[in-house]
Amino acid sequence: MWNRKDLVGLKDLSQDQIMEILELAKAMREKIDNKEARKDSLKKFSVLTLFYENSTRTKTSFTMAAEFLGADVNDLGISTSSVKKGESLIDTAKNLDQMGADIMIMRHGMTGAPHLIAKNCRGSVVNAGDGVNEHPTQALLDMFTIHEHKGKFQGLKIVIIGDIKHSRVARSNVFGLTKMGANVVLAGPSTMITSNMKALGADVTSDLNAAVKDADVIIGLRIQLERQKAGMFPDIREYSQLFGINKKLLSLAKDDVIVMHPGPVNRGVEMSTDIIDGDNSLILDQVKNGVAVRMAVIKLLMEGRKNNGITN
């Protein structure tokens, strides 16, 4: 039985809780496939999206998931809101909480911001990305996609390539995947990984060939072009040639390797076009699974609220 009020990260979830989400997501995915997504809607509830950083995709995915479940979804336009007037995050959230949102879906540029709101509000908080910390629903949809194709996590070699240090997607994936028994390898330029990442339970290397050898899953990360100015790599040309995911690199992995990317992809930079559009790529499946996973998360949080007698 689900009893967590919030979903702020995968770091604190148990194996069972992760499986509970993934199993429910499977049912949601079937409903979406059968055009029955709306059939399972809950009693009226309200969802608020607060995106302090822009992300049309993630916000849309959450919004659709919530609407499929029958929620009234409101978006707090950050650029027009009181945030611009210098109101503190806690005050903004407490005010919104008073308006009675059951679930607040929040993206924020600072690590720990959703945790702060979760502590201070009655509404359930879903972290849609905080600082360089976590992006739990993205990792859950990655895990769902992996499980869908591999049928397990135990013993899989999963390689995440790119700017690990600044990737909340990578971090949530490491927390989730290692918990489920997968072997996670983090690979990228040494300026974008640190050996401290071993504390997360993953292997860390700058040797891409060794990393990818016999891999079951490869996840590429979006490279932020600003990092160039911060001295992390010399230029796009060198990055794509030394650290891009291409045919040659892929040939070192297992034949049935699957390739994923949280999007949006810089074609030809972190991943070559033939890989993005190739047979091993599941990048578009990920998008569809994203809605299913988010439906599952919202549904469980609403159940949790009912079980714990929380109303807002």
């Binding site: 600072m110 720990g112 945790h115 600082g131 401290n196 504390a199 997360l200």
Partner: protein, 431 residues
């Protein structure tokens, strides 16, 4: 006014005293020290089971006045010091306006006198407005009574300017208290280590501190300046300090109770009361700091008492202000973490909290010598209690030690022969 302290354990490294005995104080002066002193005094303190030490000196506090009285002011900071057992505190110049000329120094002197509790020694800035460009009025501030100069909060980044400041300050025999931080390596919010990896937090590298420690040691040695390194927090810094001392260079250093008590692991849960600059480091660093104190490499324990309003802490970790209030937990943490765990003897505690601070500043304090002004602290080393920040005299309650069970506490603070704190009560409230 006479005061007789009976049967305490008298601890004074400066006069080599460690025995059970009495102290008689008359007209604010230590008249006699010995056993079975027979005097009729106006006030008698039974110090059985307690430590009687020269008044504790904290060389690094932020009193926030002038300018940020909503966090702390000279009176509330003085009360906090008195409660913590300090008879002398040195206040950092990063106020609004900055303490960069004699007028602000005199303002602080006036306010401290008005508060009338502990000795407050202002520290002057190194550069005007702490902007790192033009020397502050160091000479005029020296005349007005500053005890040192410091740019605390940041480093003077222009090495040539700092070199000049060191040369200039040496004319007035002023120590330079150096906050060591190379900003390009300190863009994050917590120590770069396993915890920052676990918590997904932008990092502050240990090299940020160590590079400036090395630079300032080199500069001070050549300028023949009295360099004192503030709040060292890494093993690498302790190593650099050790090497300089082995070469016979004149340099001293302080560490804070939070840096010898807590590790970066305390940041788990994003408790903003753990946000401090320099940040909490690793277990290895903490051990190096404790060993540095034990081995006489680190000279001084200072609190870096940094009060902040609740609103400045009840927010995102990245946005939260840096700092921890320390005056009222320093004695307890030192006893609990260092004396009880064998890193310091009781005499060692007095050295780090009174004798060495006085020596570093070059002030006539930190001693129980007969004929000196009677600044005395009396400590109960065995009392146990649980920290509750809400009970602090400081206006601000930003402590990461809430709920922690500690041992040892100051029971009396005596300044110039006057009891200004007794069992937690500040003068005026004392029966």
């Amino acid at each position: 006014m006479e005061l007789l302290i009976k049967n305490g354990r008298i601890l004074d490294p400066s006069t080599n005293l460690d025995f059970i005995g009495d102290i008689y104080i008359k007209n604010g002066i230590i008249e006699e020290i010995g056993q079975d002193l027979q005097y009729s005094a106006e006030k008698l303190i039974d110090a059985k089971g307690l430590w009687v030490t020269p008044g504790l000196i904290d060389v690094h506090v932020h009193l926030r006045e002038p300018g940020q009285e909503y966090k702390e002011d000279i009176e509330s900071g003085s009360r906090s010091a008195a409660k913590g057992g300090f008879t002398t505190i040195c206040c950092m110049p990063n106020t609004k306006p900055v303490v960069d000329n004699e007028v602000v120094v005199e303002y602080i002197n006036m306010k401290a006198k008005k508060a009338g509790l502990v000795n407050v020694l202002p520290i002057g800035a190194i550069t005007k407005g702490q902007e790192g460009e033009i020397l502050a009025n160091i000479g005029k501030m020296a005349e007005a009574g500053i005890c040192a100069i410091s740019e605390d909060g940041k480093s003077v980044l222009d090495a040539n300017l700092l070199r000049k400041a060191m040369q200039y300050a040496s004319m007035f025999d002023l120590p330079i208290l150096s906050h060591c931080e190379e900003p390009s390596l300190a863009t994050g919010f917590m120590n770069a280590g396993e915890m920052s990896a676990l918590l997904g937090m932008k990092e502050i590298y240990p090299e940020s501190e160590e590079i400036i420690v090395a630079r300032d040691i080199i500069l001070a040695n050549n300028a023949k300046a009295k360099l004192h390194l503030c709040h060292l927090s890494t093993k690498g810094s302790i190593q650099l300090l050790k090497e300089a001392k082995l070469r016979g260079e004149i340099v001293t250093a302080e560490v804070t109770p939070h840096h010898f008590t807590l590790t970066e692991e305390a940041v788990e849960g994003y408790d903003t009361n753990t946000k401090v600059n320099p940040p909490l480091r690793t277990r290895i660093d903490v051990e190096a700091i404790k060993c540095g104190l034990r081995d006489g490499i680190v000279d001084i324990i200072a609190t870096d008492h940094a009060p902040h309003h609740i609103d400045e802490k009840n927010c995102e970790y990245e946005v939260a202000a840096n700092g921890i209030v320390g005056l009222e937990t320093s004695v307890s943490l030192t006893i609990t973490e260092l004396v009880n765990k064998g890193y310091l003897t009781p005499i060692g505690l007095v050295e780090k909290m009174s004798t060495n601070p006085a020596r570093m500043l070059g002030i006539d304090k930190g001693t129980l010598e007969i004929g000196k002004i009677a600044d005395i602290t009396i400590i109960n080393p065995s009392i146990e209690y649980v920290v509750n920040g809400q009970e602090f005299e400081s206006k601000s309650k930003n402590t990461p030690f809430n709920g922690m069970k500690l041992q040892g506490k100051a029971m009396y603070t005596i300044v110039g022969g006057q009891v200004i704190m007794e069992d937690g009560k500040i003068r005026g409230e004392i029966q």
